[in-house]
């Protein structure tokens, strides 16, 4: 941070020069009345709105120190670190602290009896924008200023042009200066100067989105659209471009949604495909193996929090083997204790697995409680990034898709390239012949059941960032998993994959047209009709009984 203060000084100098160059007609700005500003922040919604709006108005010409100070006060208000005592406001280090400094004078004072105002939505938007403006104008770090600009962009209509110009003049980072120029340009849609207006239209169409489309369509009502051919041509071209981009973005979103839903379905069903395919056991406890995987993930998180807090963010990766082994262990125990006695009685094994499922749900409820588990979401699974037009890639879904892809590859490798896989395939195709050839089918059963349960445990890891984790979470997956397995064809992983993609895609395509309820019904009806024609599913494995 050696050069920090120096750069800040330089930025201040540039601001000063810029303010001289940009507003030569204006006299030196009146300094911000800090006491009155702080008091207004403590006032009612109307007072807050008035003072913050007026701050946005003067921010382009106020002293840097005043802007920075106002930024601190606004941030504190957003974080509820502003305590109001009568007419004065205190800045606290953290919400609810016992002592703070007077916002206007900087004197330390006790905060007892202070009231932290709750922002209304309208005021929150305004305060966020003003705080973003202060950050953009005065923050020493480029990254901070970039987030400040992103905040301003959300409500660009409320931002005075002069403020963007001042920021652009003061900006030292070339990349950020470019984005500032683009933002300033697109903010000039209602400018009086026709040339700047055309530039603004083009700039808006550079960043296409549904909102950009609405902003541009609104211009069709402008008188210039009827009279000025250049304006009309530019606007039409820009609109066509935005329309195209938005439809491409929407198409990408449908693909992504379908893929993401399919990845969840696939992971929930992969283990079931093996268990059902190999042993013909209708395992109703499969959802609970997913739940055990998720609880194992929680256990890993808590262990890391205690033992190695520095590694906490990697708990989702550390949990992969743990969740697999935990679910596989429970699966093998259940197979050894209960299911192996029931192999020739499919209905009894169905009931037994249902009992196991009830037992596991209630066991976890008694042991841990039925509330949703508290996960810290590392940055790689929270939020998202807008990729193109309105298409946002959310990290948690991407994590699940990648996870499903890796699971798929590993499953295929194990089934096709390892001795265990060879045994599993042999037993699936012809149990008696495999036994005659010396394969210990009981042992294969047990390992395959463990493997299938372990896969469900992996699904639990991938679902943690997407769904709520509680004892009943598994019940949501069991019906969908069976649909996938039965449609795909019993015992084939590729069939499971194709069925998951098909069901996921169909759901996502039908949902916007007929709603989520109808989507479920239509997909289910479709599956039933398909199975009428082809009872063995999409990819039937040839087998001898």
């Amino acid at each position: 941070m050696v050069e920090g203060p120096g750069r800040f000084g330089l930025a201040g100098l540039l601001v000063w020069i810029a303010s001289l160059v940009m507003q030569p007609a204006l006299a030196a700005a009146a300094p911000l009345d800090r006491g009155a500003f702080a008091a207004a922040l403590c006032g009612d919604g109307a007072a807050q709105t008035r003072s913050v709006e007026s701050f946005l108005g003067i921010a382009s010409e106020a002293e840097s120190s005043d802007v920075a100070w106002a930024g601190t006060a606004l941030r504190a208000l957003l974080d509820r670190r502003l305590a109001c005592l009568g007419e004065t406001a205190l800045l606290l280090d953290r919400a609810g602290a016992a002592e703070g400094v007077d916002a206007a004078t900087g004197a330390a004072r006790p905060a007892a009896g202070g009231r932290s105002p709750v922002l209304g939505l309208r005021q929150r938007a305004l305060v966020e924008t003003a705080s973003g403006a202060a950050v953009l104008l005065t923050a020493p770090g480029v990254e901070a200023r970039r987030t400040g600009l992103a905040t301003l962009e959300r409500r660009i209509a409320a931002v005075p042009e002069a403020l963007l110009l001042r920021a652009a003049a003061a900006e030292t980072d070339p990349g950020l200066r470019l984005s500032l120029a683009a933002v300033a340009q697109s903010a000039a849609l209602s400018s009086a100067d026709p040339a700047r207006r055309l530039a603004a239209i083009r700039a808006v169409s550079e960043a296409p989105s549904g909102a950009a489309r609405s902003r541009l369509s609104a211009l069709k009502a402008d008188p210039a659209y009827g009279t000025d051919p250049a304006f009309r041509a530019t606007l039409d071209a820009a609109l066509a471009r935005v329309e195209r981009a938005v439809s491409i973005g929407d198409g990408l979103a449908v693909l992504y949604n379908g893929l993401s839903f399919a990845s969840i379905l696939f992971m929930a069903a992969a283990g079931l495909a093996i268990i059902f395919g190999l042993m013909g056991v209708i395992n109703l406890a499969q959802g609970e193996f997913i739940m055990i995987g998720a609880y194992a993930t929680y256990g890993v998180q808590e262990a890391l929090r205690r033992l190695a807090p520095a590694w906490l963010d990697s708990y989702l990766l550390v949990a992969i083997p743990v969740a697999f082994l935990a679910s596989a262990g429970v699966g093998i125990a259940i197979e050894a204790l209960i299911l192996r006695h029931l192999y020739r009685r499919p209905l009894m094994s169905l009931l037994a697995t249902w009992a196991v499922s009830l037992f596991l749900i209630n066991g976890v409820r008694v042991a841990v409680g039925s509330q949703n588990l508290q996960f810290t979401m590392p940055s790689y699974v929270s939020g998202g990034v807008p990729l193109y037009a309105d298409f946002v890639v959310t990290w948690n879904r991407l994590f699940a898709i990648a996870f499903a892809a890796v699971t798929l590859v590993l499953t295929l490798v194990i089934l096709k390239r390892t001795p265990l896989g060879l045994d599993i395939r042999a037993v699936t195709q012809n149990r008696d012949m495999a036994a005659c050839l010396g394969i210990r089918t009981r042992r294969v059963d047990r390992l395959a059941f463990g493997f299938g349960s372990g896969l469900a445990g992996l699904a639990g890891v991938a679902l943690c960032p997407i769904y709520s984790v509680n004892p009943g979470m598994g019940a949501n997956f069991i019906v969908d998993s069976f649909m996938v397995v039965v449609l795909g064809g019993v015992g084939t992983v590729v069939g499971t994959l194709v069925a998951a993609l098909g069901i996921g895609g169909a759901n996502v395509l039908i949902e916007p047209l007929y709603g989520a309820v109808a989507a479920k019904v239509i997909v289910l009806a479709g599956i039933i009709l398909f199975l009428q024609r082809r009872p063995e599913g999409l990819f039937a494995m040839r087998r001898r009984r």
């Binding site: 919604g45 974080d79 709750v118 922002l119 209304g120 939505l121 309208r122 929150r124 959300r154 409500r155 989105s209 549904g210 909102a211 489309r213 609405s214 369509s217 609104a218 929407d250 979103a253 949604n257 839903f261 009685r345 209905l347 009931l351 749900i361 409820r365 008694v366 409680g369 039925s370 509330q371 949703n372 588990l373 996960f375 810290t376 979401m377 929270s382 939020g383 998202g384 807008p386 309105d390 946002v392 959310t394 990290w395 948690n396 879904r397 997407i466 769904y467 709520s468 984790v469 509680n470 004892p471 009943g472 979470m473 949501n476 996502v508 949902e511 709603g515 989520a516 309820v517 479920k520």
Partner: protein, 408 residues
């Protein structure tokens, strides 16, 4: 298929599904109260808390000598989030356990299934949730607010200058009676305010739905259309709420862009969520944990102590409106029974008019002579970083409840 018959199958199924439906509490010179709250299934995380609150309230009353010289015994059950089972267990409680009153139900569909049972047996059901109104049974005490004193004030707030000046509305709900009725009333309300039909959209999802990606995409494109500030009116219930909120935040929508008014959203739904990107979303209830009242401080510490003492498997420092409403219900019943000097339902019912009780919300609850509704205060809450709600607005007093909506 050795010895496997359909009858055997049904028998086993029933035995598995109903492991001792009711846990009875036997004692002489006691009066029994029955609970109909699920501790399994999709509502478990929410309803499960209410069993414990009813017990806590009964313990408190017993410590002061009980009612009419008798101790209260609480009979709990598990209807397993299975709506017809509420009616079945309710009937058993009234006919076999002879409970003096029932406390129960969260979803309106479960209340509707218990309604004929309490009417046939002339029982009393205290219902602790705010709901769609349009119902007035002499056998049900509606301990929470109908839409006119919960949903409409909140929608008014959002449409007004103090809120965001909402012009367009995306309604998304679980597919059952409460969301559909609320949305029907809201649409009629907006029509009466001159809002055109093009300004709203209505979507429903199955109960327990969790994959909200496509719907949140639709909300984003709805929000991008011109026509004024959009809001989301969220009436999904149970585990769908946190799943929806997570997807909403991940796709980058903030409360300052499109606020959500979560009508069934309580503090417990925010457990396990990172609420920093959700700050500012709204809910409306007759009680919020942040309510400033001495009775609230007392209630919160009583609950924390109870959780600790009894090893209750729920958070000691989360209290939600239905918990307080269930607590209030027990108090109201005890007040009425004491006033009537009897536990007979007709006598107790006659004692309702004129009852009042200063509850943890800081308002004084009152019951009138016209119906079995309870007048409650109105709070609008705003999500904060700490998985709770700050009070954004609250009504000056407890408005008189209006059971039947003039809208829809």
């Amino acid at each position: 298929m050795v010895g496997f018959t359909r009858r055997g199958f049904l028998g086993t199924t029933a035995a598995l599904a109903a492991p001792a439906l009711i846990r009875p509490a036997w004692a002489a010179d006691t009066v029994k109260l029955g609970c109909l709250f699920s501790s399994s299934g999709t509502m478990a995380n929410l309803e499960g808390r209410l069993n414990h609150v009813v017990r806590m309230a009964a313990d408190g009353i017993n410590a002061k000598g009980g009612v009419n010289g008798r101790r209260i015994e609480v009979v709990t059950s598990d209807p397993a989030s299975d709506w017809p089972l509420y009616a079945q267990i309710g009937r058993q409680m009234l006919q076999q356990e002879k409970v003096a009153a029932l406390f129960g139900c969260w979803t309106s569909v479960s209340r509707k299934s218990v309604l004929p049972v309490v009417e046939q047996n002339d029982g009393l059901l205290f219902y602790p949730l705010h709901f769609e109104g349009d119902e007035n049974s002499k056998n049900i005490v509606y301990a929470n607010s109908p839409p006119a004193s919960s949903v409409l004030p909140a929608v008014d707030y959002l449409m007004g200058a103090e809120g965001v000046g909402a012009k367009r509305f995306f309604m998304i709900g679980s597919d059952y009676v409460w969301p559909r009725t609320i949305n029907k009333q809201l649409k009629a309300y907006w029509t009466s305010k001159g809002v055109p039909e093009t300004a709203w959209r209505e979507e429903y999802v199955p109960l327990g739905f969790s994959n909200f990606q496509t719907l949140v995409n639709q909300i984003r494109s709805f929000a991008a259309q011109p026509g004024g500030q959009p809001i989301v009116v969220l009436t999904v219930v149970g585990s769908s709420i946190p799943d929806f909120l997570r997807e909403f935040a991940n796709q980058g929508i903030r409360a300052t862009d499109v606020p959500i008014l979560g009508l069934d959203m309580v503090e417990a739904d925010l457990e396990g969520l990172d609420t920093a990107p959700l700050v500012g979303h709204l809910n409306c209830w007759a009680y919020l944990q942040a309510a400033k009242a001495e009775a609230n401080t007392r209630f919160l510490s009583e609950w924390a102590a109870y959780v600790k003492a009894k090893g209750v498997p729920f958070s000691a420092d989360t209290v939600i409106d239905p918990m307080v409403s269930a607590y209030d219900s027990v108090q109201l019943w005890a007040l009425a029974a004491a006033k009537a000097g009897s536990f007979d339902v007709p006598e107790v019912r006659k004692a309702f008019p004129g009852l009042s009780f200063a509850d943890p919300s800081g308002y004084t609850l009152t019951m009138g002579s016209e119906n079995n509704y309870v007048a409650r205060g109105v709070f609008i809450g705003s999500v904060n970083e700490k998985q709770g709600f700050d009070i954004l607005w609250q009504s000056p007093d407890a408005p008189k409840p209006v059971p039947f909506s003039p809208y829809g």
